[in-house]
Amino acid sequence: MASINYAAREISVKIVYYGPGLSGKTTNLQVIHRKLPIEHRSDMVSLATETDRTLFFDFLPVDLGTIKGFATKFQLYTVPGQVYYNATRKLVLRGVDGLVFVADSAVDKIAENLESFQNLEDNLAEYHYNREELPIIIQYNKRDLPNALPIEDLQQQINRYNLPWSEAIANKGIGVFDSLKLIGKIVIDGLNKKYSHINRAPAAGAAAPRPASDIKQMGAPSNAAPVAPAEPQTASEPIVQEAQPVPLPKKPVTAKAAPKPQPVAKPGGKAQLPVTAGKTVRADGAKSTKSAPASVTKRPEQKRRGFFARLFGIGKR
């Protein structure tokens, strides 16, 4: 459940990185922690064993900026991937608003990926969370492994719900932010659909929404009789994410189940970051253009001065 705080004018959502052991969940958070400007993140908390395996969870609060006057705070968690830590893994899932399933692309890890995804579904079911209503994306990590499976094979075997997905080489910092942007966008779009009055059908007798500007004058909670909530147009409709993959250029593969990849041309002939631009399609088939994330660009490789150049290098000189 998200937290919407009109007093602090901030929205807080919980994103959990899930997946099999050693798939790169903690690495994702470490990269985000390392690369985000200091004013946008706090210290990362890791509850790990002596061998640096996650024991309980990693926690990283990040501030992704403001949208229409509301600060968006994302609380990023990882779970311990090892099978025997399921009790603690389940605890971390409580109150989750969005999930990034970090899958290992290695050919010999398919069984572990599938087992972990099944475990995710089981744990969500125990909390009575509806998987179809929960934003979930799949990050195919370790795309640089020599024995990495082609995306089409991974898609066919792991992504049986046609979830949005992205590719990553997390230990090199590639694709990590694309996954965070993708899940962030889907989660915020979901809240917008739920709470924006223009997205809700007017219902006779429904309580009028509180305009943000009037909040201060409202005083004590209303004593008015409880009113049936307006029927949201989209809230009860399961949202299905349809993925449009953009593959890694180094591994040209034959399209099978997934749409044919479209390489993105980039000046200078640099390598392209693998990402997925997802578009949101409602279960009734009506496409929502609002939820379509902007096309995601890639960073080819980690450069030493990339972080500074990113901050300083705007506009040509």
């Binding site: 602090a8 509850l47 932010f177 200078g268 902007a294 960073r299």
Partner: protein
């Protein structure tokens, strides 16, 4: 899953309870969190301790304690005390969704803390009931940012676009670009100067 919606009057009411509680029980920090680790409100501080991380860890500790309780045949352990050399933390379940976590030192003692928490518990429960029992229709949010991106990522996207143009990017001058705060610019510029060339 119901979202937690907090209005200014909720915070006003809760702070109006936590403030006298902190003062009477001589607490360093009174932190009201839900079971997912989200802060509802807090009074007091522990210097530069990050209360968000504290809330996440307290929620983790209480969640694992609850699981332990279930294993040994209890429905829950309603309170937890962590005793330190100088500071102590007492965690009390106010209702099924909320924990009050208080930090105190040698100025007070656990009995005094428990007495005052008990005194204010009912008021807290009533105020929290109002927080958890709101209709979605009381909320109107406009979070549509179309094809725009999160502010935090704009620098990276701008950099990516710049890099795609094929030109190298070099910082110049003392003034920060319009999209970067002066503090961040200065920090990063100094940090960059400290790094050995090619290192």
């Amino acid at each position: 899953m119901k979202d937690m919606i907090i209005f200014p009057e909720d915070i006003e009411r809760l702070d109006g309870i936590l403030l006298p509680l902190s003062s009477k029980a001589k607490l360093l920090l009174a932190l009201l969190i839900n079971r997912d680790g989200r802060i509802i409100t807090h009074q007091g501080s522990l210097g530069n301790v990050d209360v968000q991380s504290l809330a996440a860890l307290v929620a983790g500790a209480t969640a694992s304690t609850l699981a332990i309780a279930n294993l040994v045949g209890e429905s829950e352990f309603s309170a937890m005390l962590h005793q330190g050399r100088e500071r102590n933390i007492f965690i009390d379940a106010i209702d099924e969704n909320t924990y009050l976590s208080v930090v105190f030192d040698g100025q007070t003692n656990i009995d005094r803390v428990k007495v005052f928490i008990r005194q204010f518990e009912r008021e807290l429960k009533e105020a929290l009931y109002a927080v958890y029992n709101k209709s979605d229709d009381q909320v109107d949010l406009d979070l549509d940012f179309g094809n725009d991106s999160f502010h935090t990522f704009r620098n990276e996207e701008a950099f990516t676009a710049y890099e795609a143009s094929g030109d190298g990017a070099q910082p110049s001058g003392d003034a920060a670009p319009p999209h970067v705060s002066q503090d961040a610019y200065q920090y990063l510029f100094n940090k960059r100067k400290r790094q050995p060339p090619g290192g």
